[in-house]
């Protein structure tokens, strides 16, 4: 079951989750109890913007300045997957 995340939802990194850069894999990673996620570039950008202040829509706007073809719905579905993996939580 994948949760639906609204565009005005505000994601933040969960307590006990650490974000890091792994030189061995040359990739951003998220570390949490009993798990590791190796992030691609887009996911790493999204995770770095899950600051408890910006909404999903805000994150899409920021990334839209940096990359072509950023759709807010894609960001929402990526955030939903991060919620499923218990990496981020959403308010609102």
């Amino acid at each position: 079951m994948t949760s639906v995340v609204a565009l005005d939802a505000v994601p933040h990194i969960r307590r006990g989750v650490k974000c890091a850069y792994d030189q061995i894999r040359s990739a951003h990673v998220v570390l949490f109890p009993e798990g590791v996620l190796v992030l691609n570039e887009t996911a790493a950008s999204v995770v770095s913007l899950c600051d408890g202040v910006r909404s999903v829509g805000d994150i899409a706007l920021v990334l839209g300045d940096e990359y072509d073809g950023v759709e807010p719905e894609d960001i929402a579905s990526l955030v939903a997957r991060l919620v499923e993996r218990r990496v981020v939580d959403v308010d609102g």
Binding site: G16, D22, I24, V29, L31, P33, E34, V36, R86
Partner: protein, 359 residues
Amino acid sequence: MAEAPFGLLAELTHRCPLQCGYCSNPVELVRRNAELSTDDWLRVFDQARALGALQIHLSGGEPLLRPDLPELVVHANSLGCYVNLVTSGVGLSRDRLRDLASRGVDHVQLSLQDATREGNDRIAGIKAFDRKVEAAAFVRDEGLPLTVNTVLHRQNLDNIAGIIAMAEEMGAERLELANTQYYGWALRNRAVLLPTREQLAVADPIVSAAQARLRGRMEIVYVIADYHEAHPKPCMYGWGARQLTVAPNGDVLPCPAATVISSLKIENVRDSSLHEIWHNSPSFNAFRGFDWMQDPCRSCPRKEIDFGGCRCQAFQLTGDAAATDPVCSLSPARSTVDLILETEMAPSEVPAMAMRKMS
């Protein structure tokens, strides 16, 4: 070349105040004078990080019995690893936890043997329940995430609702409910521990309902009772695939139970580097990938899902570590498991639990 491991399970010591009869440590426990030194462990952590490990699980035995634990935490944290303290809670005072948290422990995994003081302390073999409740409160007060881990078996499965309630009360963010896996101590005590079909049939829907009710608050991970299943567990997600274990004496194991496979030549960190052992040792390469498999696994589409199940279980029950895990309904040795269920689920005379202790 094999992919890099994500985690190191560092069994710092086999000494433990608890005597649980299903302990995942081997029956032949490593004595204190054979344990790795502080410098050895610091080197092991360096090598694990260089190999790719990002999580260090400080486990045992009871890791709090190592006086150098604070130094080991600092080092694991300085390498950028996620530091997980796996403890019985016995010996975890408020000051000790605060100190370890300030040095870099990211998460605490606390064992709970049963829902009640009486049940917990009978299984643990010592009065530990009140100290676990206290330890959980210290973890919560310190703001660290908490996982409660309970091993399930015939003696506590009927209390599963109480165990879930206890974990909620303790403020756990995760609860691991792991049915006993039968190696070492648990294999020895199987006739005391094997749950009945009726017990599992009652427990399963209670777990499912709690998973739904607590969604978003407390994650419940349920590890199945594999003897009762038609297909094996995806043991370790494949041999030598994601994690490695270093035992208190420096033995490097593809899984914590691997010493039961007596035909396996085990390497040691005193003689070789983790990089060399992970990539090139016969023990880590023995069951990697799919080429080692025999039928029915070799031609089975499920091999990508369960990797042929557990090598240790195959060895223990068939004598061949490369056989299909005999819990699989397609295994020619499944009748062995059925016979065990028939004779040991409800034995006419239940033997006494052999409590874990150094021999």
